[in-house]
Structure formats: structure tokens, C-alpha cells
Symmetry: D3
Subunit: 311 residues, 6 copies
């Protein structure tokens, strides 16, 4: 459990960040715990897993990918029909491994599909830093497409600079602008591509603060706006009526010397409505966001189960 608690702490303190990295770290922590377990029987083992999950869930309010990953592994253990601890531990390891492999495959497929959307001579507008987006652009570049990139700096923590560096290192002509200049440069773009932190049952996408504004600006200028994301970021709780929680981060990220009496609000994400999203580029290809919940149900039928290992 120590590893688990350690990893949860790191996630909490943002030492591990990015939906994918968080999911990987959480799976590895649980795998590690399972390997070293001292549980005497199936019940105890399941209880341990359940506690670990709870601890990891508590580390960050909104990490649907990590949640779906842990739920899938624990669900598999629960239904595997085995009782010996070593076998159960083996199931944890193999499931974890399978999940990560599937995630890797999705990433590859998404990049290859999305790269086809980049036509020669296009200017691609993006916001924040998404490893899926930059991997897609790398693929496009490698397949010989010529394109330019415009990226926002992405206040408050300037992740846009990471995107900018990756792009110039890749040899792509890149322009960086402040977030509020997005409208002035939208007319120069041919396509907007951003990542996602969560997908809701209504087909909306939760992503870095500012994304919904960029989507609106793209719509205003008739520029297609795409989201690249594994469908595993779908949050089944939204189907059951929950609002996707929007993490409120520290005021210090915005202004360290702010007068104390001044309220400084720092939401990490916002919600882009489905009508502004041309398509979600995912492991099923390019789909309208409206279809997300049904496609998830078809591909990941386990995702909507409410699970409770302790009965």
C-alpha cells in the first residue's frame, strides 16, 4: 500500500501529470502492490485492491482514464474465477499490461488517422500541450506533409511553450501567441486540433481552460475543430447525471503577489460543447462527438458497470 500511497501523493502534487501518465503510474502502483501482497485469501486481496483504488481515486478529482483503467483491472480480477493469491496477482499484472498495450495501440491508431486530416500547406492551430496531438503532428510530418503550427502560450503554466518547442525541434514552422490573440490568428488557420481530459455522455469535451473559447472562435470563422482522444477518457459518471468536476488550482499559479483580498480563480479546464466539435479522432476513427457514449458502450461494455468489490 505504501507504493500506492506514494504514487497517489505524486499525482496530487503534480509530480506525475497528463492523463496517460497518471493512468500508467496508478496501474503500476496497483500491480506492484498486488505482487507484494500479504493477503491470505481472495477476500482480503480484493479488499486491498479496493482500498488502493480508493486512495488513487482521491488523488485528483478528474481523471477518467485512470479511473476507467483501475476499474477495468479490478473488475477483471473480480470476475476471473480464480482464488489463489498468486493467480489473482497474475491477473492484475496481465490486465494492467493489456490495458497499457491497448492504450499504446490507440495512440498509434489515433495519430495515423489524425495525420490524414493534415493536408499539405495547412496551418494547424492548437492550444496547451497534448502528447497525443504532438504525436499526431509528428506522424504527419514523418509522412511528408508540410504544415505550419500556431499555438497559444496557455496561461497560467505556459504548456503551450512545450508544444512550441516540440514543433520547432520537429522542424515545423511555428508561431506562438498569447491566449487572447487566438481570434486574431484564427483566420490564418485551416484546422484546430486539441486534446482532451474527459469526454461526457452528452458528447462534450473537458480540456484545458480556454479550449471552449477557441472552439467558438473556430466555429465563428468556419474552421473545423477536432479533438483527439482515446474514448477511454469517457467518464461514465456523467451518464449517471454527475457533472464532470473542474479542478480549481492554486491562485499562485496565476499571480503570486496578488493582494490577499483579491479573489484569484484558477479553473484548470472548461467544457467544449459538442456542437463546436467537428469530430473526435479516437481509437474508432473520426466520429461525431454525439456518438461517444454509444461507441464507448459498444467497445468498452464494462465501462458503465458500477463496481463494488466488497459484497
Amino acid at each position: 500500500m505504501e507504493t500506492v500511497r506514494g504514487v497517489a501523493g505524486k499525482i496530487q502534487r503534480l509530480e506525475v501529470k497528463g492523463a496517460r501518465n497518471v493512468a500508467i503510474a496508478a496501474l503500476q502502483a496497483v500491480e506492484d502492490m498486488a505482487k507484494k501482497t500479504k493477503a491470505k485469501n481472495r477476500g482480503a486481496f480484493l479488499l486491498e485492491l479496493s482500498n488502493a483504488r480508493q486512495t488513487l481515486f482521491a488523488s485528483r478529482p478528474t481523471e477518467p482514464l485512470m479511473r476507467n483503467a483501475l476499474n477495468w483491472v479490478l473488475d477483471s480480477v473480480d470476475h476471473c474465477g480464480k482464488t489463489k493469491i498468486s493467480e489473482l496477482s497474475g491477473v492484475v499484472a496481465s490486465c494492467s499490461c493489456e490495458f497499457l498495450r491497448s492504450l499504446e495501440e490507440s495512440k498509434e491508431y489515433i495519430a495515423s488517422v489524425g495525420a490524414k486530416r493534415i493536408r499539405d500547406g495547412m496551418t494547424v492551430f492548437t492550444h496547451c500541450h497534448s502528447s497525443t496531438v504532438t504525436y499526431l503532428l509528428r506522424k504527419a510530418k514523418e509522412s511528408g506533409r508540410t504544415f505550419e503550427v500556431i499555438c497559444t502560450e496557455t496561461r497560467p503554466v505556459f504548456q503551450g511553450r512545450i508544444t512550441a518547442r516540440e514543433m520547432v525541434d520537429l522542424g515545423v514552422k511555428t508561431t506562438l501567441i498569447v491566449d487572447s490573440a487566438a481570434r486574431s490568428f484564427m483566420k490564418e488557420a485551416d484546422i484546430v486540433i486539441v486534446g482532451a481530459d474527459a469526454i461526457t455522455s452528452e458528447g462534450n469535451v473537458v480540456n484545458k481552460i480556454g479550449s471552449s473559447t477557441i472552439a467558438l472562435l473556430a466555429h465563428e470563422a468556419r474552421i473545423p475543430f477536432y479533438v483527439v482522444s482515446e474514448l477511454l477518457k469517457f467518464d461514465p459518471a456523467t451518464l449517471r447525471g454527475e457533472y464532470e468536476a473542474i479542478e480549481q488550482r492554486s491562485r499562485d499559479e496565476v499571480w503570486q503577489e496578488a493582494p490577499e483580498i483579491l479573489a484569484v480563480k484558477n479553473p484548470a479546464f472548461d467544457v467544449t460543447r459538442r456542437e463546436f466539435i467537428q469530430g473526435i479522432i479516437c481509437e474508432e476513427g473520426v466520429i461525431p462527438p454525439h456518438l461517444a457514449s454509444e461507441v464507448v458502450r459498444r467497445r468498452y461494455p464494462w465501462i458503465n458497470h458500477t463496481r463494488n468489490l466488497i459484497r
Copy 2:
């Protein structure tokens, strides 16, 4: 001419900034030059004035208030019918003084008109720092209205922090957010009020980068968007077909350590189209932006003259 050149330099280096301050400094420089002139006759005096104007105009691409101010003073001198240098110099001084007084009156009137738009309990959204806007809010506060303020930080040079400080000093409950969070907070606002750097003949408003996006967001959420501005910021060149120049500022304001190969673009302003502007609150009261050029023509008939002192 030395003073004039000195002031022009200060304007260029942003040691003097803000449309109003720039106009005041330019008028005082010309007044000073006129006082100390060694010109022997009317022709020589007019030539000096004309050169001074040219130097000051060159200091910044887009300062319609300063341009209108100098044009008005020189026009008055040109038409005053006097010939003695001391008299002409007196005309410069009295016109300059009159212009500044009129500017002051406009500011007062705008604030008193605009303050009436702030109803008890309202939340006012603003962007960047405009002394006209904060003066208006001060008036509203002094007249007993209770309201809150949301302001953006306004990258790249964080003028929103100045607004925030002024507001909390005034005892107003204030929230500061990053620019790209504007859409997330728009629904909490009841009114948006911003300043202006220039008004065009089409009724559009040039203001700090990001303003046009905020106007669009206000429109999307059915929130009224007001511009407060003296009509003296009207740019008559736009009537003659010129585009209002958008100052492109240094990349260092955005990211000092940016990779050299990365293009960093930093336009200071953007254009908010008239259809997103509920009203311009000006020295003539609250008017639709569509009327700007006609109201200017009625109130400042001299503003559209093309002037050339040397004949």
C-alpha cells in the same frame, strides 16, 4: 523642437503611455515649442508646428486621440487670422488648454453616464486597464452602488492586475482570472465594460488584444457589452479607407527565452465589430457604435479635414 523630439522619444519607448497621456504630452510639447519659438514670421512658425506634428505622429502608429488633438490645434492656428508670432503662440497655448479641458469634461460626463448602467448587485466584467473604465466604476461606487468586478490578467503585460488593485483599493469585491478563463466566468457577469484605443468609421472599436473575443463571448451569453471612449478617439483615416494599424510589439513581452527559430507574434490590439457592441458611452451619451462617424462629424466637424499647413 528638442522638447518635441524628447517627448516623441518617450512615447516611442512607452515611457508615456495611454491614449490620454500621450495626447497630453504631445500637446504640452507643442505648446512649449511654440512658447520658445524663434520663428520670424507666420510661415516659419507654421512650418515649425508642422514639423513638430510630423515628429510626434511618427512616434506611434496608432494614436488617433493625439493626432486629432494636434490637428485641431494646428488647424485653429492656421485659421485664426493672426500673424504676430506672440499671438500665434498664444493661440497654440489657448487651444491646447481648451482641448485638454474638453477632454477632462468628456471623462467626467462619460463616467457619470456610464455609472448609471451599473445596477445594484451587478457583476461587471472588464479586460485590461482603462482609466476611463475605472473612473466610471469609482463614480458608481461613490454614488452608492454595490457591485462586483471580474477582470482578466491581460497578457502579455498584465494590465489587468492594475485594474484589480484599483478595484480592491476601492473596496470592490474583485476576481482576477487568466484571459482564457473569460468564457467560464462570462455567465456570472451582468455587463461587460471596456475602454478603446480607436474608433473606426464602420463603428468598430480597436482595443487591447482579447477584447473582440470577450465581446463575442458576451454576445454568446446575451450579456451587454459596452465601450467607454471619447469620440475624439475616432480615426478619420478609416473613413478614407485606411485600416487602423495594429501595433506589433516585441516578442520579449511574451517569452524572453523563446527559441530564436520560433515566431512569437504580439499584436497589441484587435478589432471588435460593431454588432457585438451594445453601445459606446461617450461625451454624447450612450450611442450605437454605428452612429460614431456621424456623431463625430456633428460634434467635431473639423476632424475630417485634411490639413496641410504649408501651401
Copy 3:
């Protein structure tokens, strides 16, 4: 003063209603008072007039036509240069008479202009009851046009029934619907025409609750939406920043047996924004609403004066 107070009471109790009728009654009360005055000198006479105006203004929050009428008469008296009471009283009478005549002319002109907008075979959609609108339709009918009318019942006090009766009496094929069926019938209309209670400096129109929704519905279906109104309903206070007051009427009009704990809100008017109004049909012809304040200033230069008879 008794007559004045009596008339003010009647206005307050809605025994006199309709912008035009209210203005007429107020003018007649003042004229009557002037005729019977016992004032000994110009100062006393002006004081009486001023008090009368104050009393009448207080009778109803939003009656710009009545306000403009009284202001114009008193202004004329103030500037007529006469001092004898009988002469001053005569000015009141003649001004009052002139104002009413001008109002009558406007009504005729508006109807003749507006009638030309009714083409043979059109279906006209209207809301509430406006004597200017029904007079226009009568004119159109008399000039031989064939058209149909759709009118809403106009809750809470069913003024639409008055419109419906007038139309069927006129021999026009008429359909009455509940207010919330407006969208279902909008597609059958070719034009929407409504009246106005006030026009603001931004070019917005204050009219019976529901008008702004109908304007939006017309816009959604690409149906032109016209307002017919004398420009004398322009409220100069809006130019000075005031919001047009929206009268809040009794809950009993809506539901007499409502549970006491239930809030029943009953605003009489709403504000239709200029972008939903194709044109204002007024004594100057068909104009874009955006021009209202400038056209008023040209035609009624006295309307923006702040007047204070007591110096």
C-alpha cells in the same frame, strides 16, 4: 392644480391608458390649469407649471411621450419672451394644440408609409394591441390590399383580443393564438408589425412583454420585424445612461388565487434589441432603429435639453 392631480390619479389607476391618450390627457390638464391660473407673475406661473409637470411625471414610471410633450410645452413657455400671464397661458394652449396636431399628423403619415409594406396576400403577425398598428392595417385595407392577420392573445390582460375584434370587424381574416404558440405560427407570417412604448438611445424598443421573443422568432425564421412608433416616444434619459424603467404590475392580473407564498412577477414590457428590428416606421419614414437618436436630434432638437424652469 386640482385637474392636474385628478388626471395624474386617473393615469395612475389606468383609467387613462395608451401612450397617446396619456399624453393628450396630461397636456389638456396643464392647458386647463394655465387657463384658470391665479399666478400673479411669470415666476409664479412657471412654478405652477413646473409643479404640474412633476405631479404628472410621477403618475407612471415610463411614459416618454407624455414627458416629451410636457417638456416641449414648458420649454416653449420658458423661451417665449412674454411676461403677461394671459399671454403665457395662451402659449401653453397654442403649444399644446400644436403638439397634438403634430402627433395626429405623425399617426397619419406612419399609417400611410406602413400600409405600403403590406403586400397583397401577406399574413401580418402582431402582438398586443397598438392603435397605430391597427390604424395602419385599416389604411392598408382601405387602399384595397388583401391580407390576413395572426395575433396573440397577449396575457395577462388579453389586449390581443381587442386587436382580433378590430380586425374581424374590419373584414380581415384573423387568427388568434396563445402567446406561446407564436413560434408555431411564425412560419405562416410574411411580416411582423408591433407598436412601441419607448425607444432608447441604443435603438432598442420597449414594448409589451413578449415582443422581444416574437422579434427573436421572426429573426429565426427570416421574417421581417417592424416597429411602428412616433419618434416622440424616444426617451432622452437613455442617452444620459438611464435604463428605461420596466413597470412591474400587480400579481392579480396574472393569478388572483395564487398561493401567497408564491412570487408572481408581472413586468409590463420587455426590450427588443435593435438587431432584431428591420425598421422603425415613424414620422420620418422607414429608418433603421440604429438611427433613432440622431433622427430625433435632427427633428426634435429640444428633446435632449435638460430643463429646469426655476432658476
Copy 4:
């Protein structure tokens, strides 16, 4: 058959009303008929059922819930493989019972999902009276949420007053307004929730007249608009190209003393297009309206069968 005819009459005369009540009454009538049947063989029994269905279908033009209920029960009887009358009658009873239980479960689930959409401090706007909506609000209240309600009176038969009474009885701060004031109060709302009478294959929702206007107003002000409805209200005939019939009700509901020559039109419903609906809150959770037909097909595969018991 007498009971069936009696119930059909009651439905016709609106003595039984509300989609759910109508479905329940119809099922009970059929169950009752089946219990007392004198049919000698399966064929005769099926003929009786078929006739009963026809009679009940004829009672009201648009009751997809009742239609789906009867179709499901009769379909089950047809395929149950039994031949003894008593057994067949038992199938009617058990199916009817199962349908009602499922309906009850849906209602519970919908309320629990929808209640999560009500955040503390929200103002909920609703139209007409929907028992599903008020049950949802009761759930939200019971789970400790604090919220206010704005409801329209809902002409012509004032069902909004029923909603208002239920809400104040529940201890919720409630405001009632006339229908045409919806736009004036929309800005005070945080969410709009209405019920449904039918769902079409295009994802549109048929509901009380006025709903589509409120949806448009919500969209204009960026307020989310939700429909709560069992998917069993889906009308499979729309998939086959039929328009959902809109019941035209009596003119007397609108104006009893209307001049005879006046056309008074009184459609009971209108159609809200899918693009104005954020989500349908149904027995499958919160879904985009676009998905309705596919989700129905998955959950109720029998719903699209064309059935004909007599072969």
C-alpha cells in the same frame, strides 16, 4: 370490451390525462378485458386484444407511450407460445405488470440522475407541468439541494399553476410568470428542465406548446436545456417517415366568447429541435437527443416491429 371502450372514452374526454396515466389506464383496461374474456380459442382472444388496441389507439392521436405499452403486451402474447386462454390472459396480466414496474423504475432512475444536475443555488426554469420533472425536483430537494424555480403559467389551461403549487408545497422558493415573460427571466435561470410527450427519430422532442420557444431562449442565453423523459415515449412511426401528429384542441380553451368569425387555433404541442436540447435524461442516463433512436433500438428492440396479430 366495455371497460376498454369506457377507458378510451375517458381518455378522449381528458378525464384521464398525462402520458403515464393514459398508458396505465389503457393497460389496465386490456388486462381487465383479458381476465373476463369469453374467447374460445387463441385466435378469438388475439382478435379481441387487437380490437381493444385499435379502440384505445383511436382515443387520442398522439400517445406513443400508450401505443408502445399496448404493442409490447400484445406482441408478448403473440409470441408466448401458449394457447390456453387462461394462460394467455395470464401473460397479459404479467406483461402489463412488468411494463408498469419498468415504467416505475425508469421514473425513479430518471429522477435520481436528473437530481444530480441541480446544483446548490441554482434557479431551475420549467414550463407546463410534468410529473417526471416535479418528481426529479422533489428528489433534489430531498437530497438536500437548495434551489429556486421559475415556472410559466402555461396557457391556455394553466398547468404551470399546478407546478407552482407543488413547488411551494415542497418548500421551494418559486416564481410564476406569464408565458411571454420567459425571455425576461431566462437570464436568471441556470438550467431549464421540461418533460416530453413524444420523442422522434430525428431526436426532436414533442412537448407542450411553448417549449420550443423556451429552448430557443435558453440557447440564446447559453443556458442548458434538458428534457426528462422515458425513452418509451419514442414514436417508431417517425422512423418510418410519419410526422408526429400535433393535437389541435378546442377554441373554447383559449377564448370562450371569441367572435365566431375569428379563427382561434389551439395546438397542444410543438416540436423542439435536437440542436436546442443539451440532453435527454432518460432510463439510460443523460444522452444527446441525437442518439435517441439508436438507444431505443438497443434497449427496446421490439419497438420498431410492425405488428399485426391477425394473420
Copy 5:
């Protein structure tokens, strides 16, 4: 009168076409008639002029420029205070000459203003053929700007081919497309510029069929849409409530071999609403279309007079 009748016939048969050419021909015909008049006195002369005007007006339903030209000349004659026929005839000649000179000046000014709107590297989209537009583009080209042009073929009579030829002759890279491809190419444009046949009091513009669609497409893609037109094309009748007549042309222009039973409709113009027009580039510079009627009234105060030479 023969010349007049001859010219009217040519206009009718489209042997003279284009608003400007029609106006010039009409003025010359009247001037010619005045020169050769045999009228014995002022009354007779005015009657002749009046008849000539009537004949020319009848030649085409919608030629506001020609109408304004004739009205202005006749009005001037009527008010010149002269009585001798030779003097009156001289007034006709001098007024006609002045009008044409003023028209020429406007054309020059419009071109010089509009040329400034063409930035280096822009792609200009245009529709139909307008000599004012092509003159503007010539000016832009001559002043050293580099730009491309996209033009539609403009069915039914392919005026776009004239534009295309003029542009390639000018050395401008030009693309011609069918009218219904406008949306596919709009994203490649930076600005749309079209001419006008008439301007209405609401600020709408009447131009070649298809213009309003292109304006909508420009709006959809955030591309500015400009109209270049002399304000003398303002039709004062629209201020008085008249609809601008839309000429219905021959079916043969569309399809000569069309089955007789087929209705072939061929309106020559459509109406572009003011909200889709960024600005009218006219002899007063760049103005919002909303201002047209007021600017016309200021510059051409005679334009709204109703004139009747026979008293």
C-alpha cells in the same frame, strides 16, 4: 421629345444598361430636348421636362440613380428663378453637366478609398460585373498592390465573364467559378466587394441576384463584405414605405427550350440586408450601411423632396 422617347426605348430594350450609363443617357436626352425646345414660356417648358421625366422613369422599374439625376436637374430648374427659355435651357445643361461631373468625382474617390482596403496578398471575391468595382481594383493594381480575384460566372447572362476578362487583362491572377461554388471558395477569400443597383432607407443593398447569398456566405466564414456605390443610388421612395421593385426578366435568358408548362422565374436582383455588409464605400468614404439615409440627407438634401413641377 423624340430623343427622349428614343432613349427610353433603348433603356427598356437594354441597349443602354448599367445604372451609370442609364443615368448619363437620360440626362443627355433631357439636355438635348431642352436645347431644341419650342416651348413659349416657363410653364410650357416645365411641362415638357416633366413629361420627359415621366417617359424616362417608365423605361425601367428600378433605376434610382437615373431618377435622382432627373429629379435634381428638374428641381434646380424649378427653383432657379429664371423665366427666359434660353436661360432655363442653360440651367438644364449646366445642371446635367454638374451632375455628371459629380458622379465622375464620386467614382474616382470611391476607387481611391476602396483601393486602400486591398492589402498585398489578398484574394478578392466579387460577383457579377460592376464598373465601380473593377475601377477600384484597377486603382489598387496601379498603386502597386498584389492581389488575386475570384469571380462567379453570374448566371443567367454571365456578366462574371466580363469581370474575369478585365481582371486577366489587367494582369491579375483570376479564378472563375460557377455561382453555386461560392461557398467552396469563400474560405480562400480575404474580402468580398460588390457593386449596387439601389440602396434602401433601411440600409439594405439591392444588387445582382446571388449577392445576398454571397454576403451570407462571407458572414458565415468571417470574411468582410463591402459594397461600393455612389450614395446617389439611394432610393428615397423606400423611406416612404415603398419596396424596391425587383425586375423580373425574361425566361429565355435562363432556358430557351424550357417546356412551356414549366415556370421559369428570373429575378434580376436580390436584397442584401445591412447586417451582412461591413461597409458601403461611397463618396463619403467607408460608412456602415445603417447610416446611408442620414448621410444622403446631409449630402443631398434635395433627394427626399417630392417634386411636382406642375402647380
Copy 6:
């Protein structure tokens, strides 16, 4: 192979045209080839089929119906488990036959569903010529509905004239207009119905150039816009990220005598976005375009397979 090459040539030269005709010709060519094959074994036979497919695919860039047809037949052969050439050839024949029968059934079903959308008295607007649309209208006419049709001429090759002829021959009152008059006549329409050449995974529809503009115009005027199309026109490549290719046709179709230096561009199709499409009327009934890819996957699970007969 000769037949195959011959047919491919005819398709290329547009001697065979229309998605349906192209598919039929291609299937027959393959069937013919299979019948006459000299292949000695299964491998050789499959290779022949594969080559034939490649040849036919190359004949036209965008023919998803033909592609899906050939893929389905070849896939069936590949999985039929037979080895004898005669049997394999029989599978080709029977599959081809089945596909055509299914296509015929779809056409019938689509027409019967779509005909129900035509209400008595409606005016139907259509663009270009689609045999599915005209068959639907024939069905509607035969079922006794009275309606009118407006159709565009559809430049450059005037297919609208074919539609117009078919309609007048059918006895339907029909109006033909030039393409750019669509907006002027949209208000007279009650419904727009067009065909499709391809459906993309985002739910967009590729159809004759101009369709997307008409969809926008319909949306602007609140007129429902329907697409009638077999889902077999779904292009699975779009799911994998490919853009639907837009055929660029000869400049001579537009203007044979165009100056050589003039670029004449002639794209055959454009893309209508899903938000402008009320519904797709297909073999599954009326569905929202958003659902296309999921419904295709359910009904034609083989459509997304990537197939390669040579292993």
C-alpha cells in the same frame, strides 16, 4: 478483364453516371468476368477479382457505393469456404444479385418513407437531379399528395433541367430558377430534399456543388433540409481519417471560350455539414446524420473491414 476495363472506361468518360448506375455496371462487369474466368484455382480467381476491383476503383475518385458493392462481393467470395472455380463464380453472381436486390429494396423503402414527409400543399425545393429524390416525389404524387416543386438549373451541366422535365411530365407544378436565386425562393419552400454522393463518418453529406449553400439558406429560413440516400453510400475511408475526394471536372463544362490565362475551377461536389441536415432518409428510415456511422456499422458490419484478398 476486358469487360471490366471497358466498363471502367465508360465510367471514367461519364458514359455511365449516377452512383447507382455506376455500382450496377461495376457489379455486372465483375460478374461477367467471373463467369468467363480461366483461372485455374482459387488463388488465381481471387487475384483476378482483386485486379478487377482495382481497375474499377481507379475509374472515378469518389464512388463509395460502387466501392462498397465490390468490397462486399469480394469479401463474400473470400469467406465462402468454397474452392471450386464454378462455385466461386456462382458466389460472385449470387452476391452481385443480392446486392442489387437490396439496393432496389432500399430505393423503394426510402421513397415510401420520404413520401410521407410531403404534406398536401407543400412546396418542395430541390437541387440537381437525383433519381432517388424524383422517385420519392413520384411516390408522393401517386399517393395523392398535391405539392409544387422549385428546382435550380444546377450549373455547369444543367441537371436541374432533367428534374424540371420529370416533374412537369409528372403533372407537378414546377418552377426552375438559376442557382443564385435560391435564397430569393427559399421562403416559398416548406421543405428541401436532395440526394447524396457520399456520407462521411462525421455525418456530413457530399453532394452536387451548391448543396451546402442551399442547406445554409434553408437553415437561415428555418426550412427543414433532408437528404435521401442509401447508407451504402457511406464511405468507410472517412472513418479512417481520409477526406472525401472532391472531383475536379473540366473547365470546358463551365466556359469553353475562357481566356487560357484565366483559372476556371469546377469542383463537382461540396460538403454539407451535419448541423444543416434535419435527417437522412435511408433504408433505416429517417435518422439524424450524426448516427450514420453507427447505423452503418450495425446494418452493414462488413463495411469497415479493410480487405486484401491476396495473402
